[in-house]
Symmetry: C2
Subunit: 170 residues, 2 copies
């Protein structure tokens, strides 16, 4: 899909196609449509990022809370969005052994309690084996810093999903 | 459900229950969770309304664009959220005659083109027969005024859905 095609979309098509580049936040794609025309992938994603950066703190936390728990029990596989399911499958998180999975689940619960949002990680950019280590590291970060880190992961995921939709190299 | 139950919810439960009181905008419920505890229905809805009012123009348009077209062909029935389907059914819009439906569809298309968002109406507060007349009237309003009117309808729908969930009289 080239950028002329994107610029020709009405808001219904645009939200259908881009509504989940920020997980479960079609509102953001629907808002970004106001900023068309777009000159390319970089310009398009700039508007997604600017919208997130312009949200109040509660809204930024809200974006994170729309993400599924990684390898979590709360969101059964069937309820993951297609994008998340592909990304989690590719990362091999469903292949964690029972003990590793239990430990990972304990740490994600601690993370959720500490920060008030789920652990978000751009899995396609990570070594699967590194996810538990990264989780343990981020669990110890100060909340304001961790919010910035987590939103950075949301933006990486957004970039990858947009590049995928536009058929470009990330 | 009483307000103590609401205040005891973790963000996952809260978004599951309240994620669609603003149509297809779980981000807003996820943000409102940051404002707990809530003293009651009025306090809870105040935070939903304040979040919408605090959005930039593109975000307010985005909220509207997440709503389905009334009696529309773009969103087939199966894709409506459960809440929208109930509200549209109750309003009898699916019972429009062929000619009325065609006329209604033409006007909603004009509305969409003029304002860049779909026609939103709190159907449960309207006489079904009045919807086409109200659409024709609002189609002639200045865009800034119509945005305010449409967001007012979003808030009425939010109020009705919240009252329904809390088991209170709207």
């Amino acid at each position: 899909m080239d950028i002329e095609k994107v610029n020709s979309m009405d808001f219904g098509e645009f939200v259908d196609v881009f509504g989940n580049v920020i997980e479960r936040c079609p509102l953001i794609a629907a808002a970004v449509w106001s900023k068309r025309p777009f000159s390319g992938l970089g310009d398009l994603e700039k508007h997604f990022f600017a919208f997130i950066d312009g949200l109040p703190l509660s809204g930024q936390e809200g974006v994170l809370r729309c993400h599924p728990e990684l390898a979590g029990r709360q969101l059964p596989w069937g309820r993951l969005t297609a994008e998340s399911q592909r990304e989690q499958s590719a990362a091999g998180l469903q292949n964690l052994g029972a003990a590793e999975r239990l430990r990972f689940t304990e740490l994600t619960a601690q993370y959720r309690t500490r920060f008030g949002f789920p652990f978000v990680l751009a899995l396609r950019l990570s070594d699967p084996a590194a996810a538990p280590r990264e989780l343990a590291r981020r669990l110890r970060c100060p909340p304001a810093q961790e919010l910035r880190t987590a939103l950075g992961e949301v933006k990486k995921i957004c970039h990858l999903r947009l590049a995928n939709l536009l058929g470009e190299q990330p």
